[in-house]
């Protein structure tokens, strides 16, 4: 859509939404949120940007095909699930750093798993929507 107002607004909303998405991702273990919703919000930020600025501009921002995030995210989830197997524990057993980290709180394999979810969701949503837009 060629509207200046939307274009301007979306350019400001993009970083805000991305910050918000990471916020939602990291707090998910304590409060509502998590990788899934976080990923959706990040994706929505880019989609909004694409609506306003055209798909090519948004793709230019990303510099790689969003689909690439899917295997990356899945691999991250896979290795966070496999890590315990390497120390002779059951698949997807939570491994935790003994001390909580500042801000994020406890860091463990579950967090990496959630980040994997986050990446996959971004990759999936953007792949779907970008592909449709391109072929529309």
């Amino acid at each position: 859509m060629s509207t200046l107002i939307l274009r301007t607004a979306s350019n400001y909303l993009l970083p805000v939404l991305l910050v918000f998405s990471i916020f939602i991702l990291l707090r998910g273990h304590y409060l509502p949120g998590g990788g899934f919703v976080g990923g959706l919000i990040a994706a929505i930020a880019f989609v909004l940007h694409a609506f306003a600025n055209g798909l090519d501009n948004t793709k230019g921002l990303l510099r790689f095909h969003p689909g690439f995030l899917m295997p990356v995210g899945l691999a991250l989830a896979f290795f966070s699930g496999m890590a315990p197997v390497l120390v002779d524990q059951s698949f997807m057993t939570g491994l935790w750093f003994p001390q909580p980290f500042p801000v994020i709180g406890n860091v463990g394999s579950a967090l990496f798993f959630d980040i994997g979810v986050y990446l996959v969701v971004i990759g999936v949503t953007l792949t779907i929507i970008f592909t449709i837009s391109e072929s529309a």
């Binding site: 409060l31 919703v37 909004l48």
Partner: protein, 91 residues
């Protein structure tokens, strides 16, 4: 009457009534734009309801949902407008 009772028996019913009015407009239309704006207002009202509800139950957690509503509702309006523009252009 406590604050909770006031919110529960006065405020929420008013908001509920507003919701019904908005849905009336949604159904009546007549233009698709009316429906879209009604949906938009409905979601905004929903944020208000969640705000009041979180006071009643003393759980600020519900505001997180309201936050998502506020952010994302915008996108569907954008999408609808995008559709209307594309559809008209196609003709």
């Amino acid at each position: 009457m406590t604050l909770t009772d006031y919110l529960y028996y006065v405020i929420l019913p008013i908001l509920a009534f507003s919701v019904l009015l908005i849905v009336y407009r949604f159904i009546k239309g007549p233009s698709i734009a009316d429906k879209i704006i009604a949906l938009d207002v409905l979601i905004t009202t929903g944020i208000g309801i969640i705000g009041v509800y979180s006071i009643i139950h003393g759980r600020s957690t519900f505001l997180d949902t309201a936050m998502i509503l506020a952010l994302i509702a915008f996108l569907s309006t954008v999408a609808f407008s995008y559709y209307l523009e594309k559809r008209n252009r196609k003709k």
